[in-house]
C-alpha cells in the first residue's frame, strides 16, 4: 500500500513502487483530467503539480510522489485565473492536452506572476498541442496575468 496526498485528500493505493503516477491517478483514483499523451514526458498532457511545481506524471513513479503534495487539474480551483482566462479566450480546440497545459501555466504564474515573453516561451515550449492553439495560449496567459493582478489589488 502506498499512501498519497492528492488534491488535499489522502489515499492508499495497492500498486507497486514503479508504476507511473499517471496510471495511479487515472485508473486507481479515477481522476481522469490528467491525460496520457506520450508516456515519456515529451508532450505535457499529463502535467500535475508536485509540491507546487509542474511535473510529468507519466515519467514519475508513484514512489517518487509519496509524501508529497500532488495537485491535479481537478484540484485547481474553478475560479483559478487560468481556468477563467481559458474560457474567456476560448483557448481550447479538441481540449485533450489542455489540462496539462493549464497546469503548466498555473505553475508558471505562481512562480512568476508577471512572466516576460521569454519566460513564457521557455516554459510553454515543453508542451505540445496538435490543434495548434499556441497563439490562443499566449493570449490566455496574458489574460490570466491581468486577472491575477486585479484580484491581488
Amino acid at each position: 500500500m502506498i499512501s498519497l496526498n492528492v488534491n488535499g485528500k489522502n489515499y492508499a493505493v495497492d500498486v507497486s513502487d514503479d508504476v507511473p503516477l499517471l496510471w495511479v491517478l487515472r485508473d486507481h483514483l479515477k481522476l481522469m483530467g490528467t491525460k496520457y499523451g506520450c508516456g515519456i514526458g515529451e508532450c505535457g498532457s499529463c502535467t500535475v503539480h508536485i509540491n507546487g511545481k509542474a511535473e510529468r506524471s507519466c515519467a514519475m513513479s508513484v514512489k517518487e510522489a509519496k509524501g508529497k503534495k500532488i495537485t491535479t487539474i481537478e484540484g485547481l480551483s474553478e475560479n483559478h485565473p487560468v481556468k477563467k482566462a481559458w474560457i474567456q479566450e476560448q483557448v481550447v480546440q479538441c481540449g485533450y492536452c489542455q489540462p496539462g497545459v493549464m497546469m503548466q501555466v498555473a505553475a508558471l504564474l505562481s512562480e512568476k506572476p508577471a512572466p516576460t515573453a521569454d519566460q513564457i516561451i521557455s516554459k510553454m515550449d515543453d508542451v505540445i498541442c496538435r490543434c495548434g492553439t499556441y497563439l490562443r495560449m499566449k493570449k490566455g496567459i496574458q489574460t490570466a496575468v491581468q486577472m491575477t493582478r486585479k484580484e491581488g489589488k
Binding site: 485508473d27 474553478e78 480546440q93 489540462p99 495548434g132 499556441y134
Partner: protein, 728 residues
C-alpha cells in the same frame, strides 16, 4: 454535456419533435407525431418544459461543430440560446448521415457543407409550426403572429405563448418541407461569434474523451503489434505476461497479442513481459531511401490518364519557354494528442462501443461484422475526440476492442500507446511529382504535363473506389472525379493544354486521409511550380497567378485580399522574404502570404508572419472558424518545417514525440486571418488552413536564398544543402 443520448430519453415522444429520413436521393424532414413507428432519428425536440434539445451527429474534435450546427437550428427556430437550448451528441443513426457523403462521418470539411441547408429548414419548419399553432389558438391570421426568442407573440392583442406551451399543439400539424427561411439581416446567432459550448467542460476537465470512458467491471487492454509490415509472431512468453499482477488474459488476435488486465499499468507490464519474437515481414529492406527511389522510378513509367485537355505534350514541346521539376513529399503522421482507443462491451443481444470516432457508420458496421448482431443492436457512443485529423475516420480501433470483449464477455478498453499510434498510423500518402510546364512568348501559361505517383489511400480498404487505375483521394487539389462531393478540389488555373497521369506506388505502407488529404502535398507541388513558372516568365508571382485565374472570381478575390492585407509588393524588413500561394478545395478558396527569414549559416527558417484570406461563403460562427485556420496553418507549418516519418527494416522507425518533432510555441508566427465577405455557396473550413501554407513557405525560402527546394520538410539540413548547392 451528456456525451451520449440515454435510450430512455426516447421512450416517450412528447412535444414537437422534428426528425429526418435520409434516402439515397436526399432527405425528408419528419414530424415525429406523424409517424407511428418513429425510429428516433431526431434532430430537435421541443418539450413542454420549454426546452429545445438539439441532437448533433457529427463528431466534436475542437472544430466547434456542436455549437455551429446548433446555432443554425436555434436561429431558424428563433429559440433562446441561453435559456432554452440544450445540445446532445447523437448516436449512430441514419438521420446523421451526411446528405453529401452518404455516411455518418465527420470528414471532408463537410459538416456545414452538408447540413447548413437541412438544419436551417428543420429549424424554420419548427418555427412555422409553432407560429401556426399559436395563430390557431388565438384564431388570428398567421401573418399577425411572430416568433421571438422562444415565444410566439400577437402584438395586436398583446398575447404570447411559449414554445413549451405550443409544442403539443404544433406536433399535430403538418410539417412544411420548404418553410420560409430567415433573411440574413434577421439572423440572431449566425454570423456572430458565439462561445463554443464544449469549452467550459473541457477547461474544467469534465469532458469525457475516449480514454476517459469507465464502464463497470471494465478491463484495460494493450496490444503487442508487429514491428514490420506483415510481420507475424514467431514466439512469445504468455506465461510470463500472465504472471504479472493484474493481468487477466493474454490472447492472440489478428492485430497482435492482446494483454488484458485490471489496470493500464498492469497491461503495459504484461505486454513487456511477452518478449514477442516477430518474423521479418513482407518487405524487410524498406526504408526511406527505398520508398523515395521506388516512387521516383514510377515517374518513368506510364500511368493512368486522369485529365486530358488539349494537347499538353505538344504545347510544352513547342513552348517558347519550358520548365521541368520533380518534387517529393514524404509520409507524415496524424499524431493526434489522444492516441487511438475504443471501449467495447459485447453482450448477448447488444454491443456498446464508446470511442473518439469520426466515422460512426464504419465503426458500427465493423462491430456488426464481428458480433453478427444487426447494426441497430450496435450502440455507438461518440465521446469527445482528442483531435481527429481524419485518422479517426478509419475505425480500426473498434474491431479489436469488440473482439476482445466478445471473447472475455466483459467490457474492455483498448488503448494504443503513443508508439502504437505512430508506428501503426495510416499516414498521409507520400508522393512524387514531375511536371513539365510551357510558356508562350508573352509568358502566358499554355501547357502543363503532370505525372504523379502515390501510395493509394483507398485500394486497401475499398478497391471499388479505384476506377481505371485512378485513386482520386490521392489527387484532390490537382484533379477530382466529376460530381465529387469534395467540391472544386482541382487545379484552379486556366490551362489550355493539361495532362495529368497517375501511378500507384506498390508499397505496404497504409495511408489514409490526413487533414486536407492530398490537397496538402498537391498544393505544395502546384503552387511551388507556378512560382517557378512565374520566375521563368520574369513576372511577379501574384500577377502570374492572376493572369491564369481570369475567370475565377473567388480565387482572384482571395489572392487580391491577401496581397493587400500582407502588403505584397511593398518593402519588408531587412533579411526577410515573402512567398505567396493559393488553393481551393472543399468548396472554399484560400490564399496565404508568408514572411520569413533564413539563417544562411545554419539553414534555420524563422517564420515571422502568415496572412491568410479565406472565402467560404456564409460564415456561421466566426470565432471557431478563425481558430480552425490558425490551427491549420500552425499544423501545416509543422509539416513544412519538421515532420517526416522514418522507416527502417520494413516497418516504422519513428516511435514517439522525441523522434517525431511537432511544432511548439516558440516557432509559431503571428497569424492574421481575413474572411472575404461572400454570399456564395457555403464551403468547408476545418482543413482549409493547410494547403497554401507549405508552398508559400517554400516560395519565400526561394526568395530569401535563391534556392528552390522541391521537397518538405524544409529542415535546416535540407535548406543548408540547397544553399550550398546553389552557391556551387
Amino acid at each position: 454535456m451528456n456525451p451520449t443520448i440515454s435510450r430512455r430519453s426516447f421512450l416517450k415522444i412528447t412535444g414537437l419533435t422534428i426528425g429526418v429520413s435520409v434516402t439515397p436521393f436526399g432527405y425528408t424532414l419528419l414530424n415525429a407525431a406523424e409517424k407511428k413507428d418513429f425510429n428516433p432519428n431526431v434532430w430537435l425536440h421541443i418539450t413542454s418544459d420549454n426546452k429545445v434539445t438539439i441532437y448533433i451527429g457529427n463528431s466534436e474534435m475542437g472544430q466547434g461543430v456542436l455549437t455551429a450546427q446548433s446555432m443554425i437550428i436555434a436561429d431558424e427556430l428563433e429559440a433562446d440560446w441561453k435559456k432554452q437550448v440544450q445540445i446532445r451528441q447523437g448516436g449512430a443513426k441514419d438521420a446523421f448521415k451526411s446528405p453529401i457523403l452518404g455516411a455518418q462521418i465527420t470528414v471532408g470539411s463537410a459538416s456545414m457543407r452538408g447540413f447548413y441547408e437541412p438544419l436551417r429548414k428543420a429549424g424554420a419548419a419548427g418555427r412555422a409550426m409553432l407560429v401556426k399553432a399559436a395563430a390557431e389558438t388565438w384564431k388570428v391570421p398567421e401573418s399577425e403572429c411572430k416568433a421571438v426568442l422562444g415565444t410566439v407573440k400577437h402584438e395586436k392583442s398583446n398575447r404570447s405563448l411559449t414554445y413549451g406551451q405550443l409544442c403539443e399543439k404544433a406536433s399535430k400539424l403538418e410539417l412544411p418541407q420548404n418553410p420560409p427561411l430567415k433573411k440574413e439581416e434577421e439572423f440572431r446567432y449566425m454570423g456572430k461569434p458565439m462561445p463554443r459550448v464544449d469549452v467550459p467542460e473541457k477547461v474544467r476537465a469534465k469532458a469525457i474523451f475516449g480514454l476517459d470512458v469507465n464502464v463497470k467491471g471494465m478491463l484495460h487492454a494493450v496490444i503487442a503489434r508487429p514491428p514490420a509490415y506483415g510481420a507475424k509472431p514467431v514466439s512469445f512468453d504468455q506465461a510470463a505476461a500472465e504472471k504479472v499482477k493484474g493481468v487477466v488474459k493474454v490472447m492472440q488476435i489478428p492485430m497482435g497479442i492482446a494483454v488484458c488486465a485490471t489496470s493500464t499499468d498492469a497491461a503495459l507490464k504484461g505486454k513487456d513481459a511477452l518478449k514477442v519474437q516477430w518474423d521479418k515481414g513482407v518487405l524487410p529492406d524498406m526504408d526511406n531511401a527505398y520508398i523515395e527511389k521506388l516512387m521516383m522510378a514510377d515517374l518513368d513509367k506510364q500511368g493512368a490518364k486522369v485529365v486530358e485537355v488539349g494537347d499538353a505534350k505538344k504545347a510544352v514541346s513547342e513552348a517558347a519557354k519550358k520548365v521541368e521539376a520533380t518534387y517529393y513529399v514524404p509520409c507524415v503522421a496524424h499524431a493526434t494528442m489522444e492516441p487511438m482507443n475504443a471501449t467495447a462491451y459485447v453482450q448477448k443481444d447488444r454491443c456498446d462501443v464508446w470511442a473518439p470516432n469520426q466515422n460512426q457508420t464504419l465503426g458500427q458496421g465493423m462491430a456488426a461484422g464481428i458480433t453478427k448482431l444487426p447494426p441497430e443492436k450496435i450502440h455507438v457512443h461518440t465521446t469527445f475526440l482528442g483531435c481527429g485529423l481524419g485518422r479517426r475516420a478509419f475505425t480500426n480501433f473498434v474491431p479489436e476492442a469488440v473482439m476482445i470483449s466478445k471473447a472475455l464477455e466483459k467490457p474492455v478498453k483498448v488503448m494504443w500507446t503513443r508508439e502504437d499510434d505512430i508506428k501503426h498510423d495510416r499516414f498521409r500518402a507520400p508522393m512524387t511529382h514531375r511536371i513539365q510546364g510551357g510558356l508562350d512568348a508573352q509568358g502566358q501559361l499554355i501547357g502543363w504535363y503532370h505525372k504523379t505517383s502515390a501510395i493509394s489511400i483507398m485500394r486497401p480498404v475499398n478497391p471499388n473506389a479505384i476506377k481505371d487505375g485512378v485513386d482520386y483521394y490521392c489527387l484532390w487539389g490537382l484533379a477530382d472525379a466529376p460530381e465529387s462531393p469534395m467540391w472544386n478540389a482541382r487545379i484552379q488555373y486556366e490551362i489550355p493544354n493539361l495532362y495529368i497521369e497517375f501511378l500507384m506506388a506498390d508499397l505496404p505502407i497504409p495511408c489514409w486521409p490526413w487533414r486536407a488529404v492530398q490537397n496538402g502535398p498537391n498544393a505544395f507541388v502546384i503552387e511551388s511550380f507556378i512560382d517557378e513558372l512565374a520566375h521563368a516568365a520574369a513576372k511577379d508571382p501574384l500577377e502570374f497567378r492572376l493572369q491564369s485565374l481570369k475567370n475565377n472570381k473567388r480565387a482572384t478575390r482571395v489572392l487580391q485580399t491577401v496581397a493587400e492585407k500582407a502588403g505584397w509588393g511593398k518593402p519588408i524588413p531587412m533579411g526577410q522574404a515573402r512567398g505567396i500561394a493559393q488553393h481551393a478545395c472543399f468548396g472554399t478558396w484560400t490564399a496565404q502570404v508568408v514572411d520569413l527569414s533564413v539563417d544562411k549559416n545554419t539553414g534555420m527558417i524563422k517564420v515571422h508572419r502568415v496572412v491568410a484570406a479565406v472565402d467560404c461563403g456564409p460564415v456561421v460562427n466566426p470565432g471557431p472558424l478563425v481558430e480552425q485556420i490558425e490551427g491549420g496553418i500552425t499544423m501545416a507549418l509543422s509539416t513544412a518545417l519538421k515532420e517526416e516519418v522514418k522507416f527502417a527494416k520494413g516497418g516504422v522507425a519513428t516511435s514517439n514525440f522525441d523522434d517525431y518533432p511537432i511544432i511548439r510555441m516558440s516557432e509559431v508566427p503571428e497569424i492574421e486571418v481575413h474572411m472575404v465577405k461572400s454570399t456564395d455557396k457555403i464551403g468547408g473550413i476545418g482543413e482549409l488552413g493547410i494547403p497554401a501554407l507549405a508552398p508559400a513557405v517554400a516560395n519565400a525560402v526561394f526568395n530569401a536564398t535563391g534556392a528552390r527546394i522541391r521537397r518538405i520538410p524544409l529542415t535546416p539540413e535540407i535548406v543548408l544543402a540547397a544553399i550550398k548547392e546553389k552557391k556551387a
